[in-house]
């Protein structure tokens, strides 16, 4: 047996994901930007197996209705009536430009990436200039009588197609006049048909999806309907065109994904037609956004999950055995970063929500038992503090000191630190009071993306929103910047401070890991750069080794003193089992066991694993099932526990205590709205 733990099994963290609103894929960066119902923005690295690089929490009442990439620039438009450019380093809005025509429903870019066109509530197309890093209002087209819900720019010509209520219009960009008006039939006389999505193909074919559940193909030159396919049982919300413009996917309220292929319906025929094929029905709720990424189709919607479906997997031939293979994969909407903090000395846990923070004292027991026992509690968990953020701004990061005397959080602009006074913490009703530690006027700390208190509670190490490592000192109830290191990267996302408070390691999206000496204010070294980025890192208790998990699931241990990989790493880093490397979910937390220096504990949302450095690695071909079912005679380094599903946080405390924050999927999705009724076999 590897370890016997007593686990604080926490299920009261009511973290709830939001529905996917829209998506935009950047093929050059291989990144997917997606927005959720609360206005938050996420950046996913698709190339590295769906690693969630950044989450930009949404402001209150903010909405993002559409996202557009122009090279490295990301633009969004929302119902607040602004078109914004996002700063992906600072994770803030860089520039904002009003549409001057009310809420914006849709946004598109020309192929040259110099212009943006937005469809607005007022019924007009607003043209914006994005050339030379600007975001400027140019003009607006003639307005029509009703809102524009979808917009698409012709790949080559200066033509824009918009969809609204009951009609589709083709606009000339140069004149700002509508050239064609395509009227959509109604299924019921008094029920207007809403065009939810349009796409403009190079051959002037216009594809539209509407509230009747029809996907229509139009001849854009003549303004005639080529074909209307009743592809869905409910509204068609979204469609996406692949690069070759020969296949289109659409989805909507009925959550089924349908693919349209431009093929010859008969053999040896020159004439081609759009033919619909059903792809999958994995979503439980409305699908809001769809995106073709290479040969896969990615969908997201109200059920908050992303589903990637491989259109060209071997199973496409229809062979049953092949279809059973992983043609589709579900990407759960969880944040791939440790967001919960634990004050290890006093069993206090900090649960950050988007706009408020909860501090809980965990329960206590002096009993022990056998595996699976639920121990009777001497004291129950109690919520000590629930604190709303200043001005309702969203929380980017937060931390609590090990003795729970200091609390810090940062919104997009500034860092806030509080001192917590806890009396009679173990009693039934502990007394709690808080006091804000003000920032010194001359050198206030910057807003941070990562935060960590030193163990002596005198320093606060942070990665600022300009991606620099900053040391702030807390003295006389004032926090002031002690030192800011030079910027070495513009996209740092992970921070780890050694237990002896001397070293700090920072990882960025460009696969670098920088090690700094905090006391000496020096950059010590960089860890050899790998091809993929780090997803979790941690110093060992002796503060001489830095362990890192990469997005390809490999684990490396770097000896900081020797400035080389540790012996264990050298020996084992190329012998990972294939099943481990194929694992879909990313390890987002790594820590050493304080009770056993040879043990690392790493976890993702599906499992946690105790990695014993003294034991050998299993053979490369070991299957995942074998890995998870240990045998007494064949002991190996990986000891996996899959008891907790959607493990949001796992913290190892001294004396073999664990804090496991679990969010059961049933509870997480219980607040979802009712989906369209769907006949299921056997129901």
């Amino acid at each position: 047996m590897m370890g016997e733990f007593r686990v604080h099994h926490v299920r009261f963290f009511e973290w709830t994901p939001k529905s996917v609103q829209c998506m935009s894929y950047n093929p050059s960066l291989k990144k997917l930007a997606l927005s959720r119902g609360d206005g938050s923005l996420e950046l996913w690295n698709v190339a590295e197996g769906w690693y969630q690089e950044e989450v930009i929490p949404g402001m209150k009442d903010q909405s993002i209705e559409d996202l557009v990439w122009q090279d490295q620039r990301l633009f969004s438009a929302g119902l607040d009536g602004n078109i914004c450019e996002h700063d992906l380093t600072k994770l803030q809005i860089k520039v904002s430009c009003p549409s001057n025509a009310g809420p914006v429903w849709c946004l598109t870019s020309n192929t040259a990436k110099t212009r943006l066109a937005a469809g607005t509530e007022d019924g007009c197309v607003v043209l914006l200039d994005t050339d030379n890093n600007y975001l400027d209002y140019i003009t607006r087209f003639d307005s029509q009588d009703s809102r524009l819900l979808c917009i698409s720019w012709h790949p080559t010509e200066d033509l824009i197609v918009t969809g609204g209520i009951d009609n589709i219009r083709i606009w000339s960009v140069s004149s700002g006049r509508a050239m064609q008006r395509l009227t959509i039939a109604r299924s019921e006389t008094k029920k207007e048909t809403v065009i939810w999505c349009v796409a403009f193909l190079s051959d002037m074919t216009i594809v539209s999806g509407d509230s009747r559940g029809k996907t229509c193909f139009w001849n854009g030159k003549q303004g005639t309907l080529i074909k209307a396919i009743q592809s869905h049982k409910g509204d068609v919300y979204c469609l996406s065109v692949d690069k070759t413009e020969t296949s289109i996917v659409s989805s909507g309220v009925d959550s089924s994904v349908v693919k349209f292929s431009y093929i010859a319906p008969r053999e040896n025929s020159d004439w081609k037609d759009w033919v619909a094929t059903f792809v999958h029905n994995q979503h439980t709720h409305d699908v809001r956004a769809i995106q073709m990424i290479d040969k896969t189709v990615v969908t997201g919607g109200v059920d908050t999950n992303l589903i990637q479906f491989d259109l060209h997997a071997p199973g496409i031939s229809g062979h049953r055995r092949d279809t059973a293979k992983n043609r589709w994969k579900r990407i759960p909407p969880l944040i791939q970063k440790p967001i919960v903090s634990v004050a290890k000395d006093v069993n206090v846990i900090l649960l950050p929500y988007t706009h408020h923070l909860d501090i809980w004292r965990l329960g206590f027991t002096d009993k022990t038992g056998v595996d699976g026992d639920i121990l009777s509690l001497r004291s129950n968990p109690i919520k000590l503090v629930s604190m709303a953020t200043k001005g309702g701004s969203p929380i980017f990061c937060s931390d609590i000191s090990q003795d729970a005397s200091l609390l810090a959080y940062s919104d997009c602009e500034c860092l806030r630190v509080y001192r917590i006074f806890l009396d009679e913490l173990t009693s039934i009703q502990p007394s709690v009071s808080m006091k804000k530690i003000g920032a010194s006027a001359d050198s206030p700390p910057d807003g941070a993306h990562c935060l960590c208190f030193t163990s002596d509670n005198k320093r606060l190490i942070s990665v600022t929103n300009s991606s620099r490592l900053q040391i702030s000192s807390i003295k006389h109830d004032k926090i002031s910047t002690y030192h800011t290191f030079d910027q070495m990267s513009d996209c740092c996302h992970l921070l780890s401070v050694s237990p002896d408070d001397k070293l700090a390691a920072v990882a960025d999206h460009n696969c670098n890991v920088f090690i700094y000496h905090i006391k000496n204010k020096q950059h010590v070294c960089n860890v050899p750069r790998q091809s993929v980025q780090v997803t979790a890192l941690s110093f060992n208790p002796d503060s001489d080794l830095l362990a890192m998990v990469y997005s390809n699931q490999k684990i490396f241990e770097y000896d900081v003193k020797a400035k080389e990989y540790s012996d264990w790493s050298k020996k084992n880093s190329h012998h990972f089992m294939n099943c481990w490397l194929r694992k879909k979910s990313k390890v987002y937390k790594l820590s050493y066991n304080p009770s056993n220096r040879n043990q690392m504990i790493l976890n993702d949302e599906q499992m946690f694993c105790i990695l014993d450095k003294t034991q050998p690695f299993p053979s490369i071909g070991t299957s995942w099932t074998q890995l998870c079912t240990p045998k007494s005679n064949d002991s190996h380094a990986f000891h996996i526990c899959t008891k907790y599903k959607y493990l949001l946080h796992l913290e190892i405390l001294p004396e073999n205590w664990l804090v496991a924050v679990e969010r059961p999927s049933l509870e997480m999705f219980s607040s979802l709205p009712e989906a369209m009724k769907r006949k299921k076999f056997g129901t």
Partner: protein
């Protein structure tokens, strides 16, 4: 109220479809001046029409369907109809008799009755009658019969000479395609039934007289009617004591038979035969209400009963037209519509049961099944059973030899044993037979009883008598086989047998065939058995019998205290020596013993408390019970431990975690 014991005579119903009368609906049909004026309602010129004839004043034709009066003739003062108006289909005319002397006939379109044609007669006319296919017949009051054409001839010197011979009832029928006129005359000692047959060759009326005696001195004839079906022609007689009898005019022999005692009481009443199976009787009083009933003469069942809407002032009369019955009450004629529909044996049996439950006391006794029915049923295999019964019952000892009787008896038992005839078991035939066998002093019926017991052919109702008889005769072996073989032994019999076996001498018991292995010696606490081995076996058998504690408690109270005490001691012994887990069927189970103990104690608790003899036994019982309770307490503890063990070795179940818990986790 019938005085005889009321038992249903079970019958094997043939599966022929019979006509059954359904409940009737009653409507007020038309008005008459006085009830006493009502003569008749008979069918008129159309199927839907009826003609109402009253003695005075009116003569109306009504539609059956909508009660509309479609024709009406008024009678002058002094004109009295003495015979019901008839519709002569052949001549398309109405015929009636006025003032006993004048026959009048008129067409339906003649509006004035007074202008109708007349034919005078010298002799007073009793009634004019019509039979389909024959010309109208006139019955004169002196018994002379002639056709209408010859009404003007002299009709002196009728067959009824005496002044007292008055025609009570008459009916003309076509009997074997021979015109026949039946009439009854009441005399002091009997009812004379005259049958006048018309000899068309000799143009003569031949008559015969049957004397039908009164059932008893006090009874008088109430009503009679004739009915004919395919092969039987029956005259039904309704007597003043509510009896219904019938007379077959075909057969040569004495064929007057009693059919049924009608339920309820009858003061004044009339009867009309609806078909060969059903008669309608008006005036029957049930629950002090006068009503009209339809009675099934074959099965002896009242099919339907409808109280009359008002009291009849005179003797109730009833007329039948089609499926309507008309009863005049006061100044209104009520129409009762009945329906005859085919019925199966099953539904008949169902109605038998329902009629038992509702009017149980009125279920008539079958005095005789009637020879005519027997012959019709004799083709079926099981219908000779009643015959067999009756042969056996008809004094088996005097006429027939024992060998003959035994032969018949065995044949009967063989029949009854068949599952198809099991329903005979509970019949009064069977009951009577067994009672006879049991009650006979001279005749040694032991063997027959044994055969019946072995064949399990003892009716439930006589099990009590059987046990009583066996106990009095000290029939140990028979009693034992009865206990083992018979199902559903009543608790009182169980107690009777128990007392008997507790008291009887060892010598008698030794004759029992004890086949069982005595397993009681295996008990840990050896204790002298208070009863002998043979006795023990048979008592064990009794203790194992199924019982209901309510009834057993009742019966146990009747057991003598001495027996109860002895039983208690034996039960104590059993309680002490019966192993808790009995695999083989070697005696009463511990639970049965405990049940019996409680019941015995309960039944005689006062005497157990008061009597010093019982104290030792009670104390002993208490110590045994205490020991057993301690033992079972120990088992309960053990069971809890085992339950815990079982729970631990079960597969893990998902525990309810809730919002937070501290749990132990082993990572392997």
């Amino acid at each position: 109220m019938p005085t005889e014991s009321l038992k249903i005579m079970p019958t094997v119903y043939s599966l022929t479809l019979n006509k059954m009368a359904a409940p009737m609906e009653c409507i007020a049909y038309c008005n008459i001046p006085r009830e006493s004026d009502f003569l008749s309602i008979s069918s008129a010129y159309l199927e839907d029409t009826v003609i109402l004839s009253c003695r005075r004043k009116i003569l109306n034709v009504y539609n059956l369907s909508d009660q509309k009066s479609v024709k009406s003739w008024s009678l002058l003062h002094g004109t009295t109809l003495t015979s019901p108006v008839l519709w002569d289909e052949k001549e398309e005319r109405f015929i009636t008799v006025v003032n006993k002397r004048v026959v009048r006939f008129w067409g339906k379109d003649d509006n004035d009755f007074d202008k109708s044609k007349k034919k005078n007669s010298n002799t007073s006319i009793y009634k004019i009658m019509l039979v389909n296919g024959f010309s109208p017949v006139i019955l004169f009051t002196n018994g002379k019969i002639d056709f209408l054409e010859k009404v003007k001839k002299s009709h002196e010197n009728g067959i009824l000479r005496s002044e007292e011979d008055k025609i009570y009832w008459c009916k003309a029928i076509a009997h074997n395609s021979q015109l026949t006129v039946l009439f009854t005359v009441l005399s002091e000692e009997s009812v004379k039934l005259y049958t006048n047959k018309y000899d068309s060759i000799n143009n003569r009326w031949n008559f015969s007289v049957e004397k039908i005696p009164y059932l008893s001195e006090s009874t008088t004839l109430m009503s009679c009617d004739f009915c004919m079906n395919n092969n039987t022609s029956t005259v039904f007689f309704l007597w003043s004591d509510g009896q219904l009898s019938c007379y077959n005019i075909d057969s040569e022999k004495d064929t007057h038979s009693m059919v049924h005692k009608l339920p309820g009481s009858l003061e004044q009443g009339s009867l009309v035969a609806l078909n060969d199976l059903h008669v309608a009787v008006v005036g029957l009083k049930i629950d002090k209400k006068e009503g009209l009933c339809i009675y099934d003469t074959k099965f002896g069942l009242m099919k339907s009963w409808q109280p009359l809407p008002e009291q009849c002032a005179l003797k109730p009369q009833v007329c039948q037209v089609g499926d309507n019955l008309f009863v005049p009450c006061g100044t209104t004629v009520y129409r009762f519509k009945y329906k005859c529909h085919p019925v199966t044996v099953g539904s008949l049996l169902g109605s038998v049961r329902s009629s038992i439950s509702t009017t149980q006391e009125f279920v008539p006794e079958h005095h005789s099944w009637g020879s005519k029915n027997k012959t019709s049923l004799s083709s079926q295999p099981s219908c000779d059973l009643p015959e067999k019964f009756s042969t056996l019952m008809k004094d088996p000892m005097k006429k027939a030899s024992y060998a003959n009787f035994r032969k018949q008896f065995l044949a009967l038992v063989d029949e009854i044993k068949q599952p198809i005839n099991h329903h005979w078991l509970e019949t009064s035939h069977m009951t009577n037979l067994v009672q006879k066998l049991l009650g006979d002093k001279q005749f040694v019926a032991r063997n027959e009883i044994e055969i019946l017991i072995n064949a399990k052919c003892i009716p439930m109702s006589v099990i009590g008598q059987l046990f009583e008889c066996l106990v009095t005769r000290n029939e140990v072996n028979l009693l034992q086989s009865a206990l083992t073989k018979l199902p559903n032994i009543p608790e009182s019999c169980i107690c009777k047998a128990l007392s008997f076996f507790l008291q009887c001498e060892e010598k008698q018991l030794s004759s029992l065939d004890v086949t069982e292995e005595d397993g009681s010696g295996k008990g840990i606490f050896k204790q002298a058995c208070p009863v002998s081995k043979d006795r023990k076996t048979i008592i064990n058998k009794i203790l194992c019998l199924p019982f209901s504690d309510v009834f057993l408690l009742e019966s146990l109270r009747k057991v003598s205290f001495k027996d109860a005490l002895q039983l208690l001691e034996y039960l104590c012994y059993l309680l002490n020596n019966t192993p808790t887990l009995q695999t083989e069927d070697s005696g009463p189970k511990l639970l049965q013993v405990v049940d019996w103990l409680s019941l015995v104690l309960d039944a005689h608790i006062t005497q157990f408390v008061l009597s010093p003899d019982a104290h030792m036994s009670i104390l002993k019982l208490q110590s045994i019970v205490n020991r057993q309770v301690r033992y079972f307490d120990g088992l309960t503890t053990l069971a809890a431990l085992l339950e815990q063990f079982k729970a631990k070795s079960l597969l893990p179940v998902d525990k309810k975690i809730g919002q937070y818990c501290i749990e132990v986790l082993h990572v392997f």
